[in-house]
């Protein structure tokens, strides 16, 4: 007999949510600590190293920041993009595939850009990547709108098809394949000419890449777009109730197509910035942002400022693990993924606890 009953809380206090989330994250770090101790590692030392991403007592601290930013920029942009489509309740889990498409088209331009001014090349790379990724996004959205094809599974398939496309490019020696180094016997991705490598503002030894600035500007733009523009408003309404959107005279199909284009194009942009910043491409160029971005967007409840903060946290986690690995060879970067998973699980529980309460059911017999 069901004596207890779950009831959605009538109010949602932001304070309570934050406390529950904090407890959730703490619990997952605690579980992480137990794992560390099982391996004979002092969790305080390790976490200390991890959360300072190897900055403390490091002569080349600026390298840590640069490394951190290399993880942060694509993750931030991808999470924002995925958040955009999730907000519309469109399950674009094709971040990986869309990223790869963008990376490949950007590289096509990059490898053929000798002699073209740097600024022009990078701009062209970004545009080409955005358009190519965006077109895939539109195609998927069109199938969804027109035939109600399952977008989750479609985008999932795209991810893997693209993975094998880039592996093919990276492992096939041929005359046409300008992606590869000519001086290497074994197939190996080449490096971009200088014309295609992202530059930045030098601050002492540290170089602030333009991609970082673009990512931050983009965050502000997406925030404004969602919060203040008519198109952002339409996304909220469609995501909340597509029946209401139709009732209000919105053309839902058009909105879905447009938003998916923007979402995929942003992921393409993230890819172009990433390959340009690293000066090369590889089959691990995505660094799993397509997957991690989903977790970031969900942890942030699709709020733009929260995505910004969560991206920083997750990037610290990931880069911190890499940085700490120099001192703790037994713990590799997978510890970050492990923690990430634990954090999401406990935050899902925390979110539930913050929104529901258990009430005792009035016993029908006694009343």
């Amino acid at each position: 007999m069901r004596k207890y009953h779950l009831v959605r809380r009538a109010d949602s206090k932001i304070g309570r949510t934050i406390i529950f989330y904090a407890v959730g994250i703490l619990v997952s770090l605690l579980i992480g600590a137990v794992i560390l101790m099982a391996l004979g590692i002092n969790p305080f030392d390790y976490y200390g190293k991890m959360f300072t991403i190897g900055l403390v007592g490091n002569r080349y601290g600026y390298k840590s920041i640069e490394g951190f930013l290399k993880i942060f920029v694509p993750l931030l942009i991808t999470s924002l993009a995925l958040g955009l489509s999730f907000k519309m309740r469109f399950w674009n889990i094709g971040g990986e595939g869309e990223f790869l498409i963008g990376a490949i088209t950007a590289s096509v331009i990059a490898f053929n850009s000798s002699g073209i001014p740097n600024f022009v090349t990078v701009l062209l790379m970004c545009l080409a990547a955005m358009i190519s990724s965006g077109i895939i996004g539109i195609a998927i959205a069109a199938l969804k709108v027109k035939f109600n094809t399952n977008e989750t599974l479609m985008t999932l398939m795209i991810n893997y098809i693209m993975l094998y496309v880039i592996r093919y490019i990276g492992e096939t020696k041929a005359d046409w394949n300008f992606f590869l180094r000519e001086d290497s016997e074994r197939p190996k991705f080449g490096t971009f000419p200088d014309s295609a490598v992202m530059t930045g503002i030098p601050l002492g030894q540290f170089k602030l890449l333009w991609s970082v600035i673009i990512a931050i500007v983009l965050t502000v733009i997406v925030y404004i777009y969602l919060k203040y523009t008519k198109q952002g408003y339409e996304i909220s309404v469609v995501g909340d109730s597509s029946a209401t959107a139709k009732y209000a005279g919105m053309s839902v199909g058009k909105i879905v197509l447009r938003t998916m284009f923007i979402s995929s194009a942003m992921i393409g942009l993230a890819a172009a910035l990433t390959v340009s910043a690293s000066g090369t491409i590889s089959d691990t160029v995505t660094n799993n942002v397509g997957w991690t971005g989903i977790i970031v967007a969900w942890l942030s409840k699709l709020s733009v400022p929260a995505i910004f903060v969560t991206s920083i946290l997750i990037s610290i986690l990931q880069y911190g693990c890499q940085a700490a690995a120099t001192q703790y060879p037994a713990i590799d970067s997978n510890y970050a993924d492990l923690l990430q998973g634990l954090i999401l699980f406990s935050v899902l529980v925390a979110d539930f606890a913050a929104n529901f309460k258990i009430v005792k059911k009035e016993d029908a017999k006694n009343a």
Partner: protein
């Protein structure tokens, strides 16, 4: 010449049976109306746990049991989050994959860097028990006997599970109730079917079956820990694709495993085939292996689009898939 064919057929089965485990496991979960994208991670956890305990106990049965239980626990986590807490199925499943694969590498690296190193299975009883069993009589059938009937016990188990699951879905009442939940949980609920219990039970069982598939992959690799490429190597994702290709039927999953396995084996063996039949199959070497790798996903994409174009009634896709059920949501 014929040996090439026999070997080809043999390889289709021996390298692709994990797909059958992953697919049947996922079918069981999807039939209950839940979409679990955590196949890859669930298989990875089952593989590591089953293998390590199996080596320690030096017994295949223990290994299978442990992989089933370990992955079943992952299924329990998924059910708790999505059924009880109503969390989003996509996000939960994907996180299970991230978590599970990381778990594989993490444990593997930790052990590989420890004093004893990664436990090997060479020369253990476990290795012996996973050896091929020749089925008397049947394995002597010319050409196909050796290819079909001289495999490790887990190959047969996978086939048996698929057949039993088909019978379970189509011939038993609990199977019928399960399918009813996947189609219309409200109707099943009104007939007194305990929706929550059924979802939990089948998500756990389905995840457990995936775990055995993971274990098989570990054993098939000779138990060597791969630090750069997870044992599961994308088979979990192919399984999700195969569910669609098999139209949610465990019987068709058997067939689908052979089809996907065929391409998979073609990828590995195209050179051998081309060498054996230079005139007829020489062109095989011209096709990049990546094409064969991508083929399962390309085929599935086409199947997905094609089936959404045609009338939905023929598709075996459970109608309530992906949506969480809430009795009072009416």
């Amino acid at each position: 010449m014929l040996e090439v064919f026999t070997l080809f057929l043999f390889n289709i089965i021996v390298y692709n049976i994990p797909l059958l485990y992953g697919t049947t496991g996922e079918i069981m979960i999807e039939k209950s109306g839940s979409l679990n994208l955590g196949v890859e991670g669930t298989m990875a956890i089952g593989a590591v746990a089953g293998y390590l305990v199996g080596v320690k106990a030096d017994n295949l049965f223990v290994a299978v049991l442990v992989s089933f239980i370990a992955s079943g626990l992952v299924g329990l986590l998924f059910s708790f989050l999505t059924v009880t807490l109503q969390a989003n199925q996509n996000v939960t499943g994907l996180t299970i994959t991230t978590f599970g694969v990381a778990f594989y590498y993490f444990i593997g690296n930790a052990l590989a860097n420890s004093e004893g190193g990664w436990p090997r299975m060479n020369g253990t009883k476990l290795a012996e028990q996973s050896q091929a069993l020749e089925i008397p009589g049947l394995s002597k059938i010319p050409f196909i006997g050796e290819a079909l009937f001289s495999h490790g016990i887990l190959v047969y188990l996978g086939v048996i599970i698929a057949i039993l699951m088909w019978l379970y879905f189509n011939k038993t009442v609990p199977g019928l109730k399960l399918r009813a939940i996947g189609e219309n949980p409200g109707a099943a609920d009104s007939l007194g079917v305990n929706v929550t219990f059924y979802k939990y039970a089948h998500i756990i069982a389905g995840s457990g079956i995936m775990g055995i598939g993971g274990l098989y992959m570990g054993l098939n690799m000779g138990g060597t820990f791969e630090g750069s490429n997870c044992w599961i190597n994308g088979y979990g994702w192919i399984s999700i694709a195969l569910v669609i290709f098999a139209n949610w039927s465990p019987a068709k999953a058997l067939l689908g495993t052979l089809v996907f396995g065929f391409f998979n084996t073609l990828r590995v063996q195209n050179a051998a085939l081309a060498y054996a039949f230079p005139n007829a199959l020489g062109w095989l070497t011209k096709i990049p292996s990546h094409f064969f790798s991508a083929l399962p996903f390309i085929i599935t994409l086409i199947v997905l689009i094609a089936s959404s174009l045609s009338s939905k009634k023929k598709s075996g896709e459970p109608q309530a898939i992906g949506r969480n059920y809430y009795r009072e949501d009416r």
